[in-house]
């Protein structure tokens, strides 16, 4: 069971307080109508699904209810980084397709 540090509460808590919210850093297209069906389908359904470091969103559901980003190794489950929404990944060379 994971232990996650909420970057807003600045507390490490058990996974039970949090909810997973999928891959991070997927921007909604500015103008969906301009996309082809295939491009829209990519946005909707296709995911990096990284084996290893994975950038993902979590929400502190039973705490401050705020979303944040986590860089987590999906094999070892080690949490490598935690940072607020809106902050760019600290190092683009790791996670999600690297």
């Amino acid at each position: 069971m994971l232990r996650i540090r909420c970057p807003y509460c600045e507390e490490a808590r058990s996974e039970e307080e949090f909810a997973y919210a999928g891959e991070a850093h997927i921007r909604r297209p500015e103008d969906p109508e301009a996309l082809s069906d295939r491009e829209w389908g990519e946005y909707l359904h296709f995911r990096t699904n990284a084996r290893g470091p994975h950038r993902e969103m979590w929400v502190h559901a039973a705490g401050c209810r705020r979303y944040f980003n986590v860089l987590r190794d999906t094999v070892s489950y080690e949490i490598l980084d935690v940072y607020p929404i809106g902050k760019a990944p600290s190092d683009d060379s790791t996670g999600n397709g690297a």
């Binding site: 069971m1 909604r28 109508e33 996309l35 929400v59 559901a61 979303y67 489950y77």
Partner: protein
Amino acid sequence: MGTPRRLPSGGRIDRDRPIAFSFNRREMRGFSGDTLASALLAHGVATVARSFKYGRPRGIVGHGVEEPNAIVDLGVGAAMTPNVRATEIELFAGLEARTSRAPWQGAVGPLARYLPAGFYYKMFLHARGFRTWERFLRATAGLGGVPEGPDPDTYDHLNHHCDVLVVGAGPAGLAAALEACRAGARVVLADEQAEFGGSLLAETGPVDGEHASSWVARTVAELESHPDAVLLARSTVSGLYDHNFVTVVERRPDAAGAPDVAGAPDVAGARERLHRVRAGQVVLATGAIERPLVFANNDLPGVMLASSVFTYLHRYAVVPGERMVLCTTNDSAYRTAIDWVGAGREVAAIVDARPEPSGAAMQAATRAGIEVIHGHAVIEARGRKRVREAVVAPLHGEDDRLTGPPRRIGCDLIACSGGWTPTLHLAAQTGVKPRWSDEAIAFLPVPAGDAVTWAGSAGGARSLPACLQTGAAAGAMAASRTGHGEGRVSAEPPETDEPPETPSRALFLVPHQRPPSRAPKQFVDLQLDVTAADIELAAREGYESVEHVKRYTALGFGTEQGKLGNVNGVAILARALGQDIAATGTTMFRPSYTPVTFGAVAGRDVGGFFDPERRTPMHGWHEEQGAEWEDVGRWKRPRYYPKAGEGMQDAVNRECLAARDGVAILDASTLGKIDIQGADAHVFLDRIYTTGFRRLGVGRCRYGLMLHEDGTIFDDGVTARIAGHRYLMHTTTGNAEAVFDWLELWRQTEWPDLDVYCTSVTDHWATAALVGPKSREVLGRVCDDIDLSRDAFRFMDVREGHVAGVPARVFRISFSGELSFEVNVPAHRGREVWDALIEAGAEFDITPYGTEAMHVLRAEKGFIIVGQDTDGSMTPADMGMDWAVRRNKPFGFLGERSLSLPDHLREDRLQFVGLASGDAVLPEGAPLVEVPDGAPPIPNQGFVSSAYHSARLSRPIALGLVRGGRTRLGEILHCALADGRNLPVTIVDPVFYDPDGKAQDV
């Protein structure tokens, strides 16, 4: 019956507290401090069970979690516990134990020759035949019985946070815990036994100049004096999970009895506790388990682990035999033979596989007058129901083969030791595979990060001083890693006087004159009857991976999970494949270390706490009225209110007619309510909903559909603008939480620039929907500060005022098609206002109605219920709800792009329609077909999503989804019933009642 094998003195048993118990209906006696196993051995019980596959007699082999044979069902009735190891049962008065496997279950034993590993894969190749065979096979398989009724006991969960968790309170664990405590760390120490001390409980030598037991007592006393130490006895650490989350199962003396257990607290409450521990550091001082030797007929009762014989002798004052042959590969077992002689019993010989054992152990044995036969091994045990003689033969010094003729030695006990297997289960549960060490002749743990360390024999330490030293060092190190102390031990490690050992011999399968395929069975896994021949056969057949062999032969799949057989099995496989053990590797270790009671895992989350039940403020009133209930999400909602003698249909008819003709009242408190505020709230809603929200006036309401990005309907509801920048969103009952999460997801992650805030206020409010032509009149009796007239309070308006003197928000919205006022008041005044409305409506015969009538009323109007008429794949167009979709909004709305995907434009999609049937109410869910008869596959034209008897229309009505349905109005389909009948149905418009909406606009 007597206890011929009990020594007259000694042991950690309390002879002043005799305990009566029964085993397989035989009355027996033991003492406080005994385990069931030690008490049985004291009585001289040899055979405790019949084996799994061959039905061979089996006796007690070990003294702890490794015991494969002595498995009993404990107690009777609902409080019976199946499959408990006798070695782990503390004796208590009135204990009733029965061998878990019935004797007849081994009935196929005589066919042993025809039952090699993999037998079942090769036979019964016809499926029907297999099903028949399987019934027989299942009957002969299985271990314990099932309790006869619901578990009468309860189980608790406790949560701990600590700096250092020490697993095991043997010498290493005690030393580790002591150092960690002294360094100031918060420590949890858990041990599976009733008493702390582990191997020291049977230790005869001194520790640190004092008797082992007094060292243990002094150490435990110091630990107890530390306020931040939690000491858990009878507590098995069952799992080590990610981020050092650890589960510890504490068995409390059985609620069914056990007041006689020495030192046991007087138990009330939970039978077991699951401690959920989050530890900064974990120190594994899990010890080691002695490895048996694999020789012919090594399963005969009377073949035991040397360390177990030692333990029974010293801890329980029990001698499980009279004349012993000790078969060993190492020094550690010698003292078992020496102390056996000390107990006045005879040692026929020590048979040592090493060519030339020497050193202190050897000398001590000789001094005790024991014959040591070196370079030999016991190759076979003989006897019918227990050991009568050991067959001993000389071994080649290096490559396990016999070099001379065998000889026989009479004995009734063969104590054996093939070395020690560190208990690595927890260390390996994190997924790091242990490594083989030729030097240690064992798999040793491999580090995975620096949050888990080990100490003592779990890490390969062989002597008591080494255990104490590594324990102390690990405890100090773990404490320092959590910020306590410098990592140095507080005192010199205690002195003990163990002589150095001479090297052990690696011996796993003892050779026989005949190869394993022809020799008497050489058991590797006693519980599942897996032999050396089985493993060789698996390898021969190409099952070469250790996991294949495990799965093909069932090696290690028993309830003791290979604690005895794993290493021998791997070694035998390695030899069969001609490779070394390191390359062969070991199987995965999975939690639990030992089996964990389901009830303990579930804890209190059963019965009413399985999932919390939500109740509205008016719940008590509904109960008083005798409402029947429906589960909606977590909510309990009244389904209908039967009057005396009424069935459901009668009640629903009455409730519906009251709403249409008079006045009725519904508890609508369960609808989700989200307060949305901020300068950009309207922009936010405009993006979330298909409908437009930019021009909604203050005091007005609007219906909206919420879509997922894939264009499917997710939720619907009415949102009101209750002030300039303030909106109140209503969601469906079951979706309230999901919708709230959805709003927050977009608000926080995608549109943080919008000035908008969402607050869930579902349970801040109680809601009563007053429905029917008389509703205005009723409301008027209890509300004098809102003008309720048609023009002042229009359909889809919201007003604030007071109802029954309570501040209220009133919505003129309708899910029934009738004139309707939804009265919202603060939740804590809900019952009061509800009572006032009921009183005000009394003269109009106000009728409470439940979800069933609510469904009928909305179905008459053709209103959808998300989740009933939609299934997660329907778009607004499918539901004929394009009227609720506003295109060309500045941003668009979530899911809009998907509405133009090719598949969503297909004309043969399932579309929402009404269905007119004859006199019968259609079964909800039933399929619709074009042609009533035919052979499968029959094209599926759709299904009935909602169907009711309409009291207003005096006929059944139904809603459904039909392929291209909206262009097929008037067409006749058939509803295919389960009994083979087909009912004709006509596709009609889904609005059955008041299509112009006159009734709600009066």
